[in-house]
């Protein structure tokens, strides 16, 4: 008897796990009654979450027939995409999700996301024509818009003016006025300041010799990009990229303008002369040293703006996809977009003015906002993205490690990067 019971229990266990696979197709495609919506986010900032909840509650109050509640679920930043993927694999996808720009092509191409364009265009008062076309490009495919880029944060350079002055260096603001704000000048100043302060010079934030895509802020103005526009061929061996990588290598290992691998230097703690990062980090400044925010320096190809984006998508397979899309249209309508602008520069041209953004970023002056944000979004390039990004990121990171030694052969490394990347770009 016992044997048979045990066997039955075992078989149930196996059957259970097996029937659970194959995706959440067993679930209802339509739901009855008001829906409970869930949006995954990576911020754990209480103020931001409170604002989201406020907007969501207002929506629920207006639409109690279709929605009973909306919750925001914070997944750890580091493991964010892992978290959503596990939920999808487990047959429990969120209704809406924030999406990193780097994985945008992957999500857009997968067919997992709902085309938002019809909903946004049909919603009264949404004014979809106000959206900045350059900001939407990454999230479009065949005329469809698969996520809304709610955050468009331009990259700029934060400068510790105290350290520069102490080292007798010119301030970038003056160089900009003189038309002399170039990567070479920035590196010279950084190296000289680092000499004097004994701290780090110019830190490309978050790069940390692993997240190489952040170097795009530098190489874009060298005219370089990691792969072709259509994502099919590797361009690490292009003359522009070789120049850019050589420049970066020299600044690390020859002039010391950029800190070397294995060094942690936090600009906002006063450990560095300058840092390249997104303007939204201004909130980390506490007034313990004098600082300025300036646009990215010019490279051999002139001035190129770079922005970091984040999108919100709606999962098409979810039982409440239509309701979720309707909520997204509400969440990002002109009024709410203006409120969200407190933290996330919106893709709406009507809101990209100094007054709107000033309210949000009290620490930044109107001039800084104008120069870096308002002039920085139209025509900007985004950080590298690809349908195979996760694998490309890892493969290229592994090959680039060879570049981060003093005697590296840049051309040889670039060739091995392309050798590793080509199969992934083709696939």
């Amino acid at each position: 008897m016992k044997h048979r019971t045990l066997l039955a229990a075992g078989l149930t266990a196996v059957a259970l796990t097996l029937t659970a696979c194959g995706g959440g197709d067993g679930e209802d495609s339509t739901s009855d009654g008001p829906a409970d919506l869930r949006m995954t986010v990576w911020t754990s900032d209480e103020a931001q979450l409170a604002l989201f909840q406020e907007i969501a509650d207002a929506y629920v109050a207006e639409h109690s027939d279709t929605v009973s509640g909306i919750s925001f679920e914070t997944l750890p930043f580091e493991d964010y995409t892992t978290g959503i993927t596990t939920q999808i694999a487990g047959g429990n996808p969120p209704d809406l999700a924030w999406i990193f720009e780097s994985s945008a092509p992957e999500f857009v191409a997968s067919g997992a996301l709902l085309d938002l364009r019809p909903v946004l265009e049909e919603t009264d008062g949404y004014d979809a024509g106000d959206l900045e076309p350059d900001a939407l490009r990454l999230w479009e495919s065949d005329g469809g818009l698969y996520a809304y880029p709610f955050s468009n944060s331009p990259f700029g350079v934060f400068v510790n003016t105290d350290q520069l002055t102490a080292a007798g260096q010119p301030l970038p603001a003056d160089l900009i006025a003189a038309g002399d704000w170039t990567w070479d000048r920035a590196a010279e100043i950084a190296a000289a300041t680092a000499q004097t302060s004994g701290k780090a010079g110019l830190v490309v934030r978050d790069f940390d010799f692993a997240l190489w895509e952040n170097l795009g802020t530098i190489w874009s103005s060298f005219g370089a990009r990691p792969w072709s526009e259509d994502g099919s061929s590797c361009e690490f061996t292009s003359p522009e990229m070789i120049d850019a990588l050589t420049w970066i290598h020299d600044q690390i290992f020859t002039t010391g303008a950029l800190p070397g691998p294995g060094t942690t230097a936090d600009f906002f703690a006063g450990d560095a002369a300058m840092t390249v990062t997104q303007i939204s980090r201004a909130s980390a400044l506490d007034g313990s040293f004098g600082w300025d925010l300036v646009p990215l320096p010019d490279g051999p190809e002139g001035h190129i703006n770079v922005i970091g984006q984040a999108g919100i998508g709606v999962f098409a397979d979810g039982p409440n996809a239509d309701v979720a899309a309707d909520f997204l249209a509400y969440f990002t309508n002109p009024e709410n977009a203006e409120r969200l602008a407190a933290y996330f520069p919106p893709p709406r041209t009507s809101l990209l003015n100094a007054e709107t953004l000033q309210g949000a970023n009290a620490k930044l002056t109107a001039e800084q906002l104008q120069a870096v944000v308002i002039d920085g979004i139209p025509g900007a390039v985004t950080k590298p993205a690809h349908a195979n990004f996760a694998q490309l990121q890892a493969a290229i990171r592994a090959e680039l490690d060879a570049l981060w030694t003093a005697d590296a052969d840049v051309t040889a490394v670039a060739e091995s990067v392309c050798a590793a990347a080509e199969p992934l770009l083709a696939g």
Partner: protein, 305 residues
Amino acid sequence: MATATLGPPRARRRLSRREDVLTGYAFVLPQLVGSLLFVIGPLVAVVWYSLHDWNVLANSFTYSGTDNYERLATDPGFHDAMRASGIFSAGLVLLNVGLALGLAVMLNQRLPGTATFRAFFFSPVVVSLVAWTIVWGFLLQADGGINGFLSQLGIDGPNWLREGPTAMLSVIVVQVFKNVGLNMVLFLAALQGVPKEVREAATMDGASAWRSFWSVTVPLISGTILLVSILTVVGSLQVFAQIAVLTQGGPGTSTTVIVYYLYQQAFQFQEFGYASAVSVVLFVIVAILTFVQWQTRRRWVFHEV
């Protein structure tokens, strides 16, 4: 087992054989159901996934036969991971077992302060793994505490976590410091089980302390050495958090051990089918290693203590 003769005695009086059997089943039932539900079931599911091409985002799950296994055979990334795991496990077992035995022998001398030293060496075992690794991550930075200390001695330390050979060495050593205390305690218990007369007899024979250690003590505790080695090898193949915190598999792929590779494939690249094939191979390797070590036990182990 030395206790083979201590098998269950025959039933007597009120204790019927039937009751015994029923109690036996009842006692193992929770563990058995748990094993079927949470170990065997999921394992079967993983084998099943490994025969499929599973694209999570596109929600496609199609049978692909042995494609994933064929890909394993030709995937240089997987071969690198196997090699890294081999180096890691070999290095870890040698260093860990060697140091644990050395510490146990020293502490067995009954010096003053033995209890304090024992507590020191054991304390990392109770410190959370993630915390331990994060702190070492700071210390091993190019300008971190280790190199700061070395520069005081006039030594220009390497960039530990960023250079191929030292990165692997660092990961191994950090792991050894974390867990060697556990093995040390097990050895200490075994050493205290070695009768003093045996060792004294050997020394009176004129054998040096060193030789008597190798020829008398080591054979007497060979059972413990083997068991500790098995547990250490099996544990070493499952190392993950240390790699994730310290090196993220780099530089290059030099510290991408097999579980880290598995994690990348499954959760970063969403290749669940392929990752499942890696899982199956990992399981088979662990099973074979354990089986082989268990078998050698019969041949090598001189004495059961």
